[in-house]
Structures are given as structure tokens and as C-alpha cells.
Symmetry: C2
Subunit: 133 residues, 2 copies
């Protein structure tokens, strides 16, 4: 299977597959005479795994760790759990940051209506005042 076929099967772009290849997440089982990457079917699963992880916003580094761990089936899986736990914490932190940002933006927005001129604009004058609470 060449890279275009793999891309079709997994709904990835060719470029991102090459990217994962370069990052060492997948590897071609061989190369054709003309140096084309050749993949076997198992790469489809591996790529779906990667896609699933990326959809959860796991980084390539984290995915590499997971793939590595899955090669050590008898190890204890604490590391995996810890990784997900800290990922959840990160996401929650980002959510609360964004919520506070949203609040600030909303209140900023309330300080001006359309139909004023720039010099009367409450938004600009608010942005110009120095209290960044």
C-alpha cells in the first residue's frame, strides 16, 4: 500500500502521514524501487490510534510514549493513567482561563454600542486604562 492509499483508508492527509513517519510514530515496512513508502495493513490501525489520540489533543510526544508502552504489555499502566490525569488537569485549566477571558471580553463589549465614534468608544478607553484586573 502506498501512502496515498493509506491516506484514503484513514482519512489523513498524505503530508501528515509523512509527518508522523518523520516523527517516528509509524514507519514504512519497505520502500519501492523508486523510493516510494510501502505500508502494510497494520499501519491503518496504528494510524487510527494516532488520530484518536490527536483528537484528544495528546501531543506527538505523548503518543510516542503510549505507542512505546503498548510494546511493554506486562508493565504496570500507571504511567498511562498519570498521563491522562495530567492532560485532564491541563484541559481544565485552559477551560477556566478561557472562561475568565470570556467574562472580561463580555464586560468590555458592554462598554460600547455601535453608532458611537472611535473617540467615544468605551472599548478603546477601557483598553487604555491601566487596571488589568
Amino acid at each position: 500500500m502506498k501512502i496515498g492509499e493509506l491516506a484514503k483508508q484513514t482519512n489523513c492527509t498524505v503530508q501528515s502521514i509523512r509527518h508522523y513517519d518523520k516523527e517516528g510514530l509509524i514507519s514504512a515496512s519497505a520502500r519501492s524501487e523508486g523510493n516510494f513508502r510501502l505500508y502494510d495493513k497494520s499501519t491503518i490501525d496504528r494510524l487510527m490510534f494516532i488520530k484518536h489520540c490527536r483528537s484528544l489533543d495528546l501531543s506527538i510526544i505523548e503518543i510516542r510514549q503510549l505507542l512505546h508502552l503498548s510494546d511493554s504489555p506486562d508493565e504496570r499502566c500507571e504511567d498511562i493513567n498519570r498521563m491522562i490525569d495530567s492532560h485532564v488537569i491541563e484541559v481544565e485549566q485552559r477551560i477556566s482561563d478561557l472562561q475568565s477571558l470570556r467574562k472580561q471580553l463580555k464586560s468590555l463589549r458592554n462598554s460600547c454600542s455601535d453608532k458611537r465614534t472611535v473617540k467615544e468608544c468605551g472599548i478603546l478607553s477601557n483598553l487604555s486604562s491601566h487596571d488589568c484586573t
Copy 2:
């Protein structure tokens, strides 16, 4: 005032001031004989404005627009309002994306306890299954 002093006054790093300078958000009123940037006091205000905008996650491009608009005090301020509105929408979209991500991660995390081995790990097996709902 040299760049280090300006940095101290505004609690910016020297690098980021140089960055804003390069991006055209601020500019040195002059250069010393030895080519050092020299700023006047009004730059402190401008930089605080920029910091305030950045704390609201406005992009440098957006800030440039705002600074430009504030030089046209008699224009109507719809553009400013529109910018903030669309920024709020973006932030709200990101929040809801992250909330759904959080939910998925939580449910993934519930699929495994510590003390199992990697081959029994519910997280890995979940990540391996193809349904990315």
C-alpha cells in the same frame, strides 16, 4: 529611556518589546549614537495598552488595527465592536470544544484503574478501538 528601563516600567521582557517594535506596534522615537533604541514616556501607555489587549488574547494583527483606529477618532467604532464580538465567539467556541474534550478524557480515564498491566489497560484498548465518537 532605553529599552531596559521601558521593560522595567511596563513589566515586559526586553525581547517582547523588540518584538512589538519589529511588528510595528511601537517605535523608538530615536536611536542613540550607539544605535540603542530610545523611547519617550508615552510609549509606556502604548505598551500597557498592548499588554492589556494581549491579556485578552487579541492578536498582534488585531492590536495593530485597534491602534490604527485610535488614530481616527472621528470614524465610527463599529469595527472595534465587531472585532470584540467575533473574538468572544471564538473564545466561546474554544470553550465548548475543550468541554467536550474534557468529557471524553474523563470517560477514557474511567476505563482503567492503576495496578493493572499495560495489556489490560482500558485506556489503551479504548484508544485502539476505532470509534472516535
